[in-house]
Symmetry: C2
Subunit: 127 residues, 2 copies
């Protein structure tokens, strides 16, 4: 797969894909004779995972650690799991926060609608 195909498929710009390779988040991608990148299935799997974790807010730094552990083989699996569990905890907390914010938004929006309906234009308690 070319870089533009991968870019298309995973919603990452070509620049970002090159950047990830440059910083070693993914190993050096194979090139064709002419020097053009030719992404293998394994690369794509990793990119999918990276994309997923990045959009969930895992820092590049942590991913870098994780991907390097993968390359070091099976004996690092405990440490890798640790990283995943850590991230899981972070995400669960984030989701809780998000739910609180959503509740707050809902209330506010409901309050706007209420005002609209009753045609009363006074300010309500919420800012």
């Amino acid at each position: 797969m070319t870089i533009s195909e991968v870019s298309e498929q995973y919603g990452l710009t070509a620049d970002t894909l090159r950047y990830y390779e440059k910083i070693g988040l993914i190993p050096r991608v194979e090139r064709k004779k002419n020097g053009v990148r030719d992404y293998q299935e394994e690369d794509c799997k990793q990119i999918a995972f990276i994309k997923c974790m990045r959009s969930a807010g895992m820092p590049v730094e942590t991913l870098l650690r994780y991907m390097s552990l993968i390359r070091q083989g099976e004996e690092t699996s405990k440490e890798r799991m640790g990283l995943l569990v850590e991230q899981q905890e972070i995400l669960l907390k984030k989701r809780q926060e998000m739910d609180d914010t959503l509740k707050r938004l809902e209330d506010k929006i409901a309050c706007f609608k209420e005002k609209e309906k009753s045609k009363k234009r006074q300010a309500c308690g919420c800012i």
Copy 2:
């Protein structure tokens, strides 16, 4: 309330509070004779809201717009509600994504545990 009390209460640094005031996210806070900030209840309400929206990922730019609409009075309420609804949609989408990621993490972690239990050290399909 002094800046350090507000900072304490809402988990924002004094620097961040001054920064929010500087960029006009909150209106100029009242000062005591000696020039020290004295936060009023209204300021605190706004800060609570800002903190909440910021940690849910609403960009400062959007909040700036929202807060400026508030200052313009009741006739902007429709536009304000629009911003909130927009943000709500963004958050709902984000939460969906987050749930997908959590699912993925769970699966991976389960996979690690499985491997551990069965004492088989072979790689599993997931990266």
